[in-house]
């Protein structure tokens, strides 16, 4: 069954036709073309699809699109302000926190949410905040270091300008 949904995505009002069986991830990727959020498992185990739903990190693959009606959704595409990257993004780039990169969008979202509620997290708090985001490449060290650096007032400059 098709249904018209109204919601806010990355600060913009969106009106979109969706199937009632669509997940929020389907809505973002297939109907809105926002492919930055990734599907790694489809059942909420890996965190590659992490987005913010009314400010809370959720696995978009296990939220129905209809549940997001009237909500405010933030995805990786909305994290940087134009050329100006978020400090977490800048730190991940410069400290080698991305390898294959498939988990990275979800981790950026989870880390940003953490820093908004806890601007000076300990390494343990950082690890707890991204425990739902699986990474198979990095062993997490450089991701944790990047989030720590970002929390320490990392100077965010446009990518590639350093």
């Amino acid at each position: 069954m098709r249904k018209a949904l109204e919601l806010t995505v990355n600060g913009e009002s969106v009106s979109v036709m969706a199937d009632t069986r669509d997940t929020l991830l389907d809505l973002l990727r297939d109907r809105l073309g926002l492919t930055g959020s990734k599907e790694g498992c489809g059942n909420g185990n890996c965190g590659a699809c992490t987005v913010l739903l009314d400010g809370q990190p959720v696995n978009a693959c296990i939220v129905f699109a209809c549940e997001a009606e009237g909500s405010d959704v933030s995805t990786i595409e909305g994290v940087a302000a134009g050329d100006r990257l978020h400090a977490v993004q800048q730190a991940l780039i410069e400290l080698g926190g991305t390898q294959c990169g498939f988990c990275t969008p979800g981790i950026v979202i989870a880390a940003r949410a953490l820093l908004e509620r806890n601007p000076r997290p300990t390494p343990h708090e950082i690890r707890a905040a991204i425990a739902g985001n699986l990474c198979r490449c990095t062993g997490y060290d450089k991701i944790v270091a990047a989030i720590e650096a970002a929390a320490g007032g990392y100077d965010a400059a446009p990518a590639g300008k350093r």
């Binding site: 599907e39 790694g40 498992c41 990257l85 780039i93 294959c100 990169g101 950026v108 198979r136």
Partner: protein, 771 residues
Amino acid sequence: MSAPFDPNRNLANVSLRHVGKPLVRTDAPGKATGRTPYAGDYVMPGMLHAKVLRSPMPSARLVRLDVSKARALEGVALVLTARDLPDRLAPTDIPGQTGQTRLKTDQQILVRERVRYHGEPLALIAAESVDVAEKAMSLIDYDLEPWPGVFDPESAMRPGAPVVQGTDNIVARHAIGKGDIDAGFAAADMVVERTYRTQFIEHAFLEPEVGLAWVDENDVVNIRVSTQVIEHFRFIADAIGVPHNKVRIMGALVGGGFGGKEDITVEIYLALLAKHTGRPVRLEFTREDSFVGHGKRHPFILTYKTGVKRNGKITALDVRLVSDAGAYVFLSPYVLLYGAIAAPGPYLIENLKVDAVSVATNNMYTSAFRGFGSAQACVAYEQQMDEVAQAIGIDRLDLRRRNYLKTGEPTATGYRVPSAVWTERCADIAWQALGEKTPAKGAIRIGRGLAAYQQSYGRLTFLHDTSEAWVGVEVDGTVIVRSGVTDIGAGQASALAQIAIEVLGVNMENVVVYNSDSAVTPLAGTTTATRALYMTGNAARVAAEAVRGRLVARAAKAFGVPVDDVVLADNKVSALDRPDKAMSFADLVRLCATEGIQRSELAMFRAPFTDRLDPATGQGQAFADFTYGAHAIEVAVDTETGEVTVLKSVACHDVGQCINPAAVEGQIEGGAAQGQGYALSEEMIYREGRLMTPSLSEYLIPTAMDVPVVKSIILESRSGVGPFGAKGIGEPALTPVAPAIANAVADAIGRRIHDLPITPEKVVRALHGID
């Protein structure tokens, strides 16, 4: 012109500007912003969606397959079964570049009659939507009649066992014989014999297999796919019955591989569906498809019998390896060969016997996985070293010091390693770096373990491996690198950029790398076997050096100085000690362009080419070179719950020369986490061939909460055969981790668990003496 460039010249005094620096990788900004398109992010107008119907049974006979209802469903474009592909087979051998004859292991694409593993494909569906394709799957009627199966390699070797492959289930054997094994044991003061077992494990790359195929106006089947090997285009063409130049593979940046995207995954299905429908087709595996749809790491049974003198000198080693190949051959013969060659580890063993056999069963087929047989061998040889040390009552590191292979000494196959062998230095440094021991407390016991290793980088030399890269300079002074190398997340493309700018004296923002397209980028071979940097890095360096040679010759003429006095750095050209002689790099390139001097070069790098090993003795050269190092671990074991916590993790590897030290550390840290999963938590459990762990909530890879901070100590001997003296680190980073953890657990609890993974249940059982 300068002398022809020799990539293996002495590098001891070369100073580097860009290589060896932790520069921002070319792929990092796109990944951190979500802008990087992966293979699954592409769509096309009129695209169909595919699904694969799989067998729920591991051993069966397909007695009826009726797809008529599925074909009749509105929105279904095509349903393919084996009946539609009477003469089509899927090649499964290692992809070759030099025309080697492949093993006779081509297999059915879809089940014709015999089902040999849980998940084997029965039918392919292409429909207007994923929903319709799934509905069509449910409308396919089939009857499977259970067929006698065999589910462990030891049973499968017995006479009368159900036959899965060939006549006796034996898919490969390798033997190595060196010295006099009987005399070696006769000279021993003590003989220690133990059997170790490793488990099936899953790559669990975050990006499941995915691709998009279409047939273009020239009848070329184009496939954009997540793969480590774009050069499967030849096998795909053979499978669908078209010439090799009618299949083009475009690999996107890959969301993790680890060997799991070394074999063909979705490509043949996509090619068939696109060719038969004439429409673009997309196929994305679900996580469950991925778990049942690609090969696993081989479980090995490794029996080690070591003869040793009281002073710690090993006099003889007799090794028997049995690997479970699962239902189809794939890369099992090669994985077994790697295991056999690696069997003695980084030790000089003069009297050696290795008997290795790989056996087909009705378990999931097994194939490439980071470490490729060498990792399984290390699990055994490094635990065996600890058990031998304990048996004769000497220090674990002392036993190793007595026996380390040294530079120039012969390996198991009698090949004398040309590069620095710094095993002892790495092991001692890693062990020292563990620092002060964490105190035990209450039910918590503390233990330490170490594992050293020898791991090849580069393919087996009898495969005659080659790699190509093209480097060109534009008239504005920017640089382009083109190479077919696939980038699976380790920074393979970015490394080529760093190599090219080192040679040409421009900066990182002035270079772009195009990679991973079988039709338009020069063929570079596979991103497997820790070969990408070694092979393609050398090719890129040779190409860049050729371009540099022409540019420098022209500059020398312009400046009136010898070529050796021309300096290329920071986008500028200058003459040594002649501040008046300078121009921009762009001006030099423009000058060359005006005069028709070639500004690009296509280079091929060839690994050493050898014959196969002697089949009776296993002697000869198998690899170009090896990486050496060690990993040291401290664990806490809770004797009440059996839980193992890794407290400290220290790696020390000689990588020859870092191209990008941040990327090297990334490999080491990722290898440590993957090795920890291998040791403690990961197991693909098959009951009578059926997968019992089909999701990431049952198959447990380490999370950020499970792993410690890894200390990486990187040594640079500059003695490797890669660019600038680099060795490989992709696989070596993983290899010693699991045995180091196993040794630490045994040290903590005073008992050894001989089969991975070391789960809390096994620890508690061991502590209570329960078998």
